[in-house]
Amino acid sequence: MKHVVAFLVAAFVAFPAWAEVDIQEVTSPGGLKAWLVEEPSIPFVALEIQFQGGASLDVPGKRGSTILMTSLLEEGAGELDARAFARRGEELAASFGFDASDDNISVTARFLTETQDEAIELLRAALQEPRFDDDAIERVRRQLLTNIRSDETDPRALARRAFDAAAYGDHPYATSPDGTEDSVSALTRDDLVTAHHNAFARDRVVIGAAGNIDAETLGRVIDAVLGDLPESGAPMPTQAEVSITGGIEVVPFDTPQSVAIFGHAGVERDHPDFFAAYLLNQVLGAGGFESRLTQEVRVKRGLTYGVYSYLSPKDYAATYQGSVSSANDRIAEAVDVIRDEWSKIAENGVTEEELNAAKLYLTGAYPLRFDGNSNIAGILVGMQAQGLPIDYIATRNDKVNAVTLEEANAVAKWLYQPDNLRFVVVGTPEGLETTASN
């Protein structure tokens, strides 16, 4: 009894005061914009820079060039070859991460206040003066080829490849941004220079910073790192058509546990019903023990260790996906249960109680994200990349709470399409055969 009371009290008490997330918009002397949260208590800065476009800007036939180019940024720049560059970073105790994905290239930098100027110079050189030395190209190319070969015997990677091929037609999203053994083997230094030229430009950059730095200094820093970049790069990618059809596609692979990815078309991040869809997914299959999928597939039947669903709103295509893995003799049952849940939520929607629980979780969890400079810098970039206003944080929970049961259940009717739900199953599943046609 005691616990029921505790639960009810918790449910109706408003959430506590926000962390002070005071975002300043900074315009550098050179005209670049950045968002900043000043936090002087620890003597370092987290700087996050994102270039929109990413691996989807690969020139046709040059798949893998953006990934390979990005991996080479820390392999020699300016006066420094790969080893000298790494030594310099260690001397300064600065860390730089360069990562290319479908929609962007992200640069995650962390540097001490005491070595700030030197760290900034190193980062500038990496972004603007990468050397692309031949020996570095060959070394990193061999690493990338090793990753590509590993994916050929990794059930999860195989499932990802088959799903994307079925979902995204002839858009770059349909193939791995790593490229293929053939495409990566054929890349030349010129291809990497082109990829660099296409990706890095002032018109596609968003910047977030958090830590021990003021607006004026940040302006100087971003001009130093990015100011000399060209105004524009390659034309942005075009919209993909989500072409996936329903049914099962088995990818035979000899392994004890089948790995499945499932999904169909989804909903864009800026769609007016995005929050309704987000809440619906919280009920159906987002992380946590309470989701319908976890309850039905894992808790009641013990068919899996993990089953999830998630909205995947990429910049140029929105899908709704999920994944599950079960032993080969049990995956068919897991697929049946998931299909049933998909049909149930499409037909009947969710209950008032479920919707309220989802709202409580999402609104309560939101302020917990803003703990730490590195997390905050990442969030600032994410908000700008999505085109959200600078006061969004204070209004976001209201948007979640504004979704009514009627709205949510109206969205469920079109969002969930059991007939279009594609399952890609990698393994030797018992009782499942390919029914889908591409």
């Binding site: 009894m1 918790a10 001397e91 032993a327 309560g364 703990d371």
Partner: protein
Amino acid sequence: MLRRALIAATVLCAPVVAWADEMVTHFTLDNGMEVVVVEDHRAPVVQHMVWYRAGSADEPAGTSGVAHFLEHLLFKATDTLESGEFSRVVSANGGQDNAFTSYDYTAYFQRVAADRLDLMMQMEADRMRNIRLTEDDILTERQVILEERNQRTENNPRALFGEQLNASQYLNHRYGVPIIGWKHEMERLDMDDVLAFYEAHYAPNNAILVVSGDVTPEEVRTLAEQHYGVIPANPDIQPRARSEEPPQNAERRVIFHDPRVSTEYVSRSYIAPERNPGDQEKAAALRILAELLGGGTTSYLTEKLQFEEQIAIYTGAFYSGTSLDETTFDVVIVPQPGIALEDAEAALDRVLAQFIEDGVDTEAMDRIKMQVRASEIYARDNVDGIANRYGRAMTSGLTVEDVQVWPDLLQAVTEEDVIEAARAVLRPEGSVTGYLMKAAEVSQ
């Protein structure tokens, strides 16, 4: 000269001492439950963790996986909570919860808004003594842990290979048994196994409470006394007695074939001393040795084998040292296509010997110490990481003081210490060399 060196050392260490003193508080409740509080008031968030001094290496023979199985079952019913209600309440409060099991510990945690700490403690204290399991819980959740083993291990040849290496490394200690359990033993785990482990290990005098975030030590003390302080100590909690390793006198080899392997490699582990209370110097030297040998682009193995000889695609060296009993020092080499594993192994051995002969590069040592110092500054941005550091250390036999002195000990390691540690540990007779290979070729 000496005076200058001393000043430099003091300056180098200053920030480390400062944060450790200002952020961390430690006390013990009357029933023996230790409490660590790591303060960070930047965001209204807390992480609440309870760490038990009980992990897979504390399991009775024949019941491998029971520590981890019990961890799953703590999310079922108690006297006052329905099955699943624990996580439901955490979630309704905007929080996240989970748990993890290792050789030396099992830990449960929630991340929530700071004003929900009371409720979290109430529920966590409840399941320390009051779980109520059904036979159906056992049968269904046993399927879940078997699927977890499928996902982590059976579907992953690298993980299967790692199990065989570990089992060969330890001749007599439970670290040779996988945390998740051997499959054939997991399939037989029952209610009696689970409850026996629970009764033997889950008590306040075998647990450490670690709270980090926007909370004061006084607040934590008040709540902890209210919720955990009322649980009586269990006088039957036994000191952790584990079978010890005999001297290791034979070089071992493990050849593992699997058709799902795409990249072959050589993995080598050496039996190595761990961090011990008041006696962490050898471990500190090994930690620095791992960085120097295989910590990144500038490390010795990478320099020699990737840049100069171009034999390897990847090399690495690993040592953590946070372990209750003897641990391992590991090296790995992934050769370039076309280079046989035997040749890669020979190159690795040659370069390890060369390292000991050459001695330590002073500039490399300076860079690593700069990194160690900076990592203590960066660590303050992630207070939950600091909390984990304490939980792991204190369930591995270390004290708060041992944790706080560790960065200073790393700074104090000399070039001679590193070479001495390398000579002592990189012994063939204490090693296991593993080849992960594609399917054996079938002769026609």
